[in-house]
């Protein structure tokens, strides 16, 4: 199993901050989600981090056992 993490407004859209998914290629995992959510996760302003490290290219990512993939919409601190 692997984990998806939804930050900011993506948590509202997903209805949860965190979701367990079967390990495997990210594109398969996304294809199994609610399409309305998947579209948001793939939005051009959403960045992704694998185990706390920002991905510069999501192509070909495969989630292994215990991996955590976070979806990061535009930030707003301070």
């Amino acid at each position: 199993m692997a984990r998806l993490i939804f930050l900011g407004r993506l948590e509202d859209i997903a209805g949860t901050g965190e979701m367990s998914v079967a390990s495997g290629p990210v594109e398969h995992i996304l294809a199994a989600l609610d399409p309305a959510l998947a579209v948001q996760l793939l939005g051009e302003k959403v960045r992704m981090a694998l185990n706390g490290r920002l991905l510069t290219d999501m192509g070909g990512i495969v989630l292994g056992e215990g991996d955590e993939l976070a979806f990061l919409p535009p930030v707003s601190g301070g």
Binding site: L7, G8, P73, V75, S76
Partner: protein, 147 residues
């Protein structure tokens, strides 16, 4: 020496500033920035979410970059997460330097980056419910000044 913290509960800016000032008697200038939840304007609460594996490490890296760019004697960055009420402090940055311009610029730089390049997500609650806050155009312009 940077002091960088993510505060999950109330932050006391006056106590922090008192301790920071006492630590740097050799610094000619100390600049502090306090950001707080505005009273008035209809905001009932503000929530800041963070992401454990990235938020504090990102703040530590920001402190490192700030210290590499200006000759500072001390740097403090404390940022809240969680739910806050109007008037509550959100973020405190303090920079101590021999010369005042270094302290001003370092604090300004750190704030611009905390605002729009750190891993926080902010939403506010009004009579209409919760609403996520997107970064403003101005925040990006502010960042561009440092590139």
């Amino acid at each position: 020496m940077a002091d960088v913290r993510l505060a999950e509960s109330a932050l006391d800016p006056v106590a922090e500033i008192a301790a920071f000032n006492a630590r740097y008697p050799t610094s000619g200038g100390i600049v502090t920035f306090l950001g707080q939840v505005r009273e008035g304007g209809g905001v009932e609460a503000l929530e800041l979410k963070h992401y454990g594996p990235m938020t504090l490490p990102g703040m530590v890296e920001l402190a490192r970059i700030t210290q590499a760019r200006w000759p500072l004697e001390g740097l403090l960055i404390v940022h809240r997460s969680g739910i806050m009420c109007p008037g509550d402090p959100i973020v405190l940055v303090a920079a101590a330097a021999r010369h005042r311009r270094d302290a001003f610029e370092a604090a300004d730089f750190a704030m611009d980056h905390l605002k729009s390049e750190s891993w926080f997500w902010k939403r506010e609650k009004t009579a209409n419910g919760w609403r996520w806050i997107e970064p403003r155009e101005q925040d990006h312009d502010d960042l561009e000044r440092w590139r």
